[in-house]
C-alpha cells in the first residue's frame, strides 16, 4: 500500500510551537535556550505566560542557534550576537531578491 503523503508545515508566523518543541528541535540544554530568550534572541508570544509558545519561525532560529553554538563553540551570548548578524544578512538577501524581481 502506498503511504499517504504527510503535510509539510510552513514555519512562519501563522503556526505556533511550544517551548518543548523549541527545546527538542534545538537540542541545546534548556538553561542555554532560556538565556537566549533573556537576551531577546528567541521571543515567546507572551513572555509572562506560564507555558511559553512561539511563532513557528522561531523553531528555525533555535536550530540555527544550535548550529552556531556547536560549530563555532560559542557561549549563549556569542550565539545571540551572531544570530543578530544572520538575521541582518537574511533581511538584506530578501531585499536583494525583491529588487532583482522588480528589475528583471
Amino acid at each position: 500500500m502506498i503511504p499517504a503523503p504527510i503535510d509539510a508545515v510552513c514555519l512562519d508566523a501563522n503556526a505556533e510551537v511550544t517551548w518543548k518543541e523549541i527545546v527538542s528541535a534545538a537540542g541545546l540544554p534548556e538553561e542555554e535556550l532560556r538565556e537566549l530568550v533573556r537576551y531577546g534572541a528567541l521571543v515567546p508570544r507572551n513572555p509572562e505566560a506560564p507555558a511559553w509558545t512561539f511563532e513557528a519561525r522561531w523553531l528555525v532560529v533555535a536550530r540555527t542557534a544550535s548550529r552556531i553554538r556547536h560549530d563555532f563553540e560559542l557561549d549563549p551570548y556569542g550565539v545571540c550576537v551572531v544570530l543578530g548578524y544572520v538575521e541582518r544578512i537574511e533581511r538584506l538577501e530578501a531585499e536583494i531578491r525583491a529588487l532583482r524581481a522588480k528589475l528583471g
Binding site: I2, P3, A4, P5, I6, D7, A8, V9, C10, L11, D12, N14, S24, A25, G27, A56, R57, L59, V60, R63, T64, R67, I68, D71, F72, E73, V82, Y85, V86, I89, E93, A94, R97, A98, R100, A101, K102, G104
Partner: protein, 315 residues
C-alpha cells in the same frame, strides 16, 4: 570505503597539537560556515572540515583514525579486522559505509559504553533536506517524493547508510528560502522515544516568465509605443490562468500595473499581488511609409522628455 585525509582538510600536519587543530578549525569555520559565508561551495567545504574536526578533536577518535593508516585521499580502503576489534565496538561490518558514518557509529558506541541507562528512550534524529520545486508547484502546492540517504543505527550499535523515502505535501504559496517541517519523518526514535522531524529548505527554481519576491510575482509587459500612448487591453498569463489587463493611455516604461490578489496565496493567509512591469519596445525594422509617419509625428509633436536636462545644461 574512500579515505579522507582529515589533517589535510584542516591544513595540518599529522603531529598537530590539540590547540593547532582547534585553531585551524576555527579559522576555516569563520570563512566557510554556511550561515555566514557566501564562498563558493561553502556548505560542502564546511561539512568536510566539521567532520574532520569532530574526529581529530577527540583524542580517542583521533587515535582510532590514525590507526587506520595513511592513504591517498579518495583511495579505497578497509579498516583491518584488528582495528574493528579495538575501536568499532558493536559496529558490525564495514560494508556500505563511508568514513564519516564509521566515526558517527564510533561516537555512538562511546556514548553507549559511557552512559548509564543505555536502554532509555531517545528521540530520533532530525533530518534536513533541500527541496527544489517549480514556481507552479509553489503556487498550487505539490506532492513530492523525496529520496534521502540517511544513517541508521541497528540495535547492536552498528551503523549503516539506508535510503529514506518520504512522500510529503508542500502547501500552496510557499516561497523561495522558506523552511518547512514534516513532523515525524526524521530518524526513528529508540526505545520508544519519538521519531525525529524532517526539515525542508524550499528552493523555487527560476521561471522563464515570472519572478518572485515574497508573496508577490513580477512579469515583464512589453508594449509598443502606440499601445503605451493610446492605451490597450492585453491578455496576460498568470499561474492561475490568463487574465485581461487594461493598460491605461499614457502608460510609461517602468510603471508597475498591479493585479491585486493574483500573486502567491497561502492557506489561511492573504494573497500577494502580480505586478506587470511595463517595458516599451520599439520596432527594429521600419519601412519607408512608417518612417514617414514617424517623421510627421516628430515634426508635429510638442513633447520634450529632456527639458529638465536641457535647462540644467544651459545654466
Amino acid at each position: 570505503m574512500k579515505y579522507k585525509d582529515y589533517y589535510a582538510i584542516l591544513g595540518l600536519k599529522r603531529d598537530a597539537t590539540a590547540d593547532d587543530i582547534k585553531a585551524a578549525y576555527r579559522r576555516l569555520a569563520r570563512k566557510y560556515h554556511p550561515d555566514v559565508s557566501k564562498e563558493k561551495d561553502a556548505e560542502e567545504k564546511f561539512k568536510e572540515m566539521a567532520e574532520a574536526y569532530e574526529t581529530l578533536k577527540d583524542p580517542e577518535k583521533r587515535a582510532a583514525y590514525d590507526q587506520l593508516g595513511n592513504y591517498t585521499p579518495g583511495q579505497e580502503f578497509r579498516p583491518s579486522p584488528d582495528w574493528g576489534d579495538h575501536f568499532a565496538r558493536g559496529q558490525g561490518g564495514f560494508d556500505d559505509l563511508d568514513l564519516s558514518s564509521l566515526f558517527a557509529g564510533f561516537a555512538r558506541a562511546q556514548k553507549r559504553s559511557g552512559a548509564r541507562g543505555a536502554d532509555r528512550a531517545m528521540a530520533g534524529s532530525d533530518y534536513e533536506a533541500v527541496v527544489r520545486i517549480s514556481l507552479e508547484q509553489a503556487f498550487h502546492g505539490a506532492e513530492i517524493d523525496l529520496e534521502l540517504s540517511v544513517l541508521e543505527w541497528g540495535p547492536e550499535g552498528g551503523v549503516r547508510r539506508v535510503p529514506h523515502r518520504v512522500k510529503t505535501r508542500i502547501p500552496r504559496g510557499v516561497t523561495d528560502g522558506e523552511k518547512l517541517r514534516v513532523p515525524g519523518k526524521g530518524g526513528k526514535g529508540v526505545n520508544g522515544g519519538p521519531d525525529g522531524d524532517l526539515y525542508l529548505d524550499v528552493e523555487v527554481t527560476d521561471h522563464p516568465l515570472y519572478r518572485v519576491s515574497g508573496q508577490d510575482l513580477f512579469v515583464d509587459l512589453p508594449l509598443a509605443p502606440w499601445e503605451a500612448i493610446l492605451g490597450t487591453s492585453v491578455t496576460l498569463p498568470t499561474p492561475a490562468g490568463a487574465v485581461a489587463l487594461k493598460v491605461p493611455a499614457g502608460t510609461r516604461a517602468g510603471q508597475q500595473l498591479r493585479l491585486a490578489g493574483r500573486g502567491m496565496a497561502r492557506v489561511g493567509g492573504a494573497a500577494g499581488h502580480l505586478y506587470a512591469m511595463v517595458r516599451i519596445e520599439v520596432p527594429t525594422v521600419v519601412d519607408d511609409a512608417q518612417r514617414a509617419l514617424y517623421r510627421k509625428l516628430a515634426e508635429t509633436a510638442n513633447f520634450n522628455p529632456r527639458a529638465h536636462l536641457e535647462q540644467e545644461a544651459s545654466r
